[in-house]
Amino acid sequence: MEEAVIKTTHLNVGYNKKTVISDIDLNALKGEVVCLLGPNGAGKSTILKTLSGLLAPLSGTAELDGEGINGIDKKSLSRRLSLVLTDGPVPAMTTVFDLVSMGRAPYTNFMGQLSDNDRRIIDAALAETGISGLRDRYVSELSDGEKQKAMIARAIVQEPEVIILDEPTGHLDIGYKVEVIRLLQKLSAEKQMTCILSLHDIDLALKGCKTIMLVNDGKISGMGAPEEIIKSGTFTELYHIKGGRYSELMGSVEIKAPLANDAFVAAGNGTGAVIYRSLARNGYGVVTGVVHENDKDHEVAAGVCSEMICEKAFEPISRGSAVKAEELALMQRFVIDSGFPVGGINAENIGLIKNIILKGKRVFSLRPVNESRRFFGELDSRIVHAGTVSELIQKIRSIF
């Protein structure tokens, strides 16, 4: 078994004797990337502060290579562990090189004089983080992303075994976010640096970090490889998402439509997703059917729609489901045909729409007119057609 670089046993962390998170057992191996996920105020920063020696453990142990982190003297700790924090003053009149060179402080002499070796290490870190070109720019002129890379370069030149990063992707655009994670992966793979970080981007964490630690309600609610600990619903629960649902499969969040009997969307094969979202955004209540459990629409509808009639994967739509869907549709003010492709197992949906038209409900459709005529024949004349989703919304608006 590999030796842990950072190891905590029954660690309780908090401020002024008040425990924020209790019973943390972490084994971070050499070169491992461990990511803390959890809602604001869950105590991620408190854990990171304790691991970086800024805060003493309330009880239990936090060790770096078997030594209590809090007991290691600051000087030698600074050669083994470095930090990247969320905020902090931006020093005036300081170039990127100056900023990064601050990280050599644990190694330089009394007056902080840089040796040729120090300079080499600094230049290497600038190259590694891709900011060699910014070497002589002032830190105050950098974008958030560039600044963050400079701060990471500063942490690298401390040549630590462990880098602790508190929300290193906060304020960054998606391009920089990916870059920062890639950089950490590289440090872990090539330099065997252990990275312990907190993130707010679930998606990034699951795809970029080997180990995830879920922090919530004063405890660690799960720890391990993403595929082991993340199930459907994990994040909706972890972040107490109300009025929405996080889809672990899609890596995205859906916002619940208002609770109102407005629209029934007959959908399938992902044709419903944009319609659900658009209706919800425009303030309409949305229900859907009959959608197969293995359909992309199913995953989105689970988040947006207040009700959904579904069918088992790869099974033809059963009579029962069709009847339930029809009942549901008749309770709504109008019905939408998303223009889903029609095949053997979902042909029942066409029948469903026909019945609804016959019962006098207004039906809107995104299906091409000639195809619609083919399916609905005579009844097509009672359907309101729209070419795009926004046109559809406009037409709905003018009537409902």
Binding site: L83, P91, A92, M93, T94
Partner: protein
């Protein structure tokens, strides 16, 4: 430091600053109600017998001590400003704004007036310095205490101003209830002035200033680490608590030693560090501290000269001169983004 080009720039700027300082020094001794030639100054040191005795005593008893005091005092205040700005992570603080000078002045008043009350004829320069130091430390600690409760820059400024006002108010009450004649010299120092400096006072001012300026310079490396805030400093191996204590002591001593003999001199501690960072284009304390020493000395020397020479024979308050330069700097800093953390 970085490249040869930067190195050359620093050399040129330091040389220019040095030349400016020497010029200020010579002019400050030469100019005044009695004009004195450079040759006479030279004469004072090497051929005292050839200098007219009236001029000799003007130079040796009045102008030289005053000039030396202005130069040493300016350097001390500027470096004190550098340290405080580092301590609070904020470019807008300095001894005067935080009320440290005023507190120092108040305790000085208490020592002087208390001394007279207890029948002492003269308060020794050392006694004045110690009183002043206690005042500076007391206010400094009070400001630090409050600044831990309120984090915002603006609140800190207001609190400093308030503490300053309170100290000034108490000082003025003391001035009124005390024997007028005896406190003449003291009352004047509330506006700050290098006039009437004696060699005895210089014997304290110069060595103390020199020692603590050197101490400040030796703290450069950790001061640099502190630029990113305490947490980073600690992660780079600085023992933050001990180091902060050092900053407090050194900056308080530097403020106190000036205030003891020259009163509360405003804004030098604010303007000089900022000007130095801009012209040297760095925040590296290994450059900023020596530069603040030179340019602080120059600024105080020039302001002192201005106070004497602009409307002779009336002597303008030194505080007015330094404020005219310092206040716009403060406003600029507040308005520009640099003022916010």
């Amino acid at each position: 430091m970085l490249s040869r080009k930067t190195n050359t720039r620093y050399t040129v700027l330091f040389a220019a600053g040095g030349a400016l300082l020497i010029m200020t020094f010579i002019l400050s001794v030469m100019l005044g109600s009695v004009e004195i030639s450079a040759a006479e100054i030279y004469g004072c040191f090497f051929t005292p017998d050839n200098v007219r005795s009236a001029h000799y005593s003007i130079i040796m008893d009045i102008r030289l001590p005053r000039t030396l005091a202005a130069i040493a005092g300016g350097a001390a205040l500027a470096v004190s400003g550098v340290l405080l700005q580092n301590f609070f992570g904020n470019p807008i603080v300095e001894p005067y704004i935080l009320g440290i000078s005023s507190g120092s002045n108040l305790f000085l008043g208490i020592v002087i007036l208390g001394g007279y009350t207890f029948g002492m004829k003269n308060i020794s320069s050392m006694g004045m310095f110690i009183g002043s130091f206690i005042g500076a430390m007391a206010v400094m600690l009070a400001v630090i205490f409050v600044s831990q409760k309120v984090r915002s820059v603006t609140s800190l400024l207001i609190i400093g101003l308030m503490i300053g006002y309170v100290c000034s108010a108490v000082t003025s009450v003391l001035t009124v209830i005390a024997d007028k004649e005896r406190i003449m010299g003291f009352a004047r120092t509330t506006m700050g002035s290098f006039a009437g400096f004696t060699w005895e006072q210089l014997k304290i001012l110069c060595p103390v200033t020199a020692a603590f300026l050197a101490a400040a310079f030796l703290m450069s490396k950790d001061l640099n680490s502190m630029l990113l805030g305490e947490k980073y400093a600690q992660s780079m191996g600085v023992s933050v608590r001990a180091f902060r204590f050092c900053i407090v002591v050194v900056s308080s001593v530097l403020t106190a030693v000036v205030t003891a003999f020259a009163g509360a001199v405003s804004f030098i501690g604010l303007a000089v560090p900022h000007i130095v960072r801009i012209i040297f284009r760095t925040s590296d304390h290994r450059i900023v501290i020596p530069a603040a020493i030179i340019f602080g000395a120059v600024m105080a020397g020039l302001c002192d000269m201005g106070a004497r020479l602009i409307m002779p024979p009336t002597e303008l308050p030194l505080g007015a001169m330094t404020t005219i330069i310092g206040a716009p700097t403060a406003v600029y800093l507040l308005v520009s983004k640099n003022g916010e953390r």
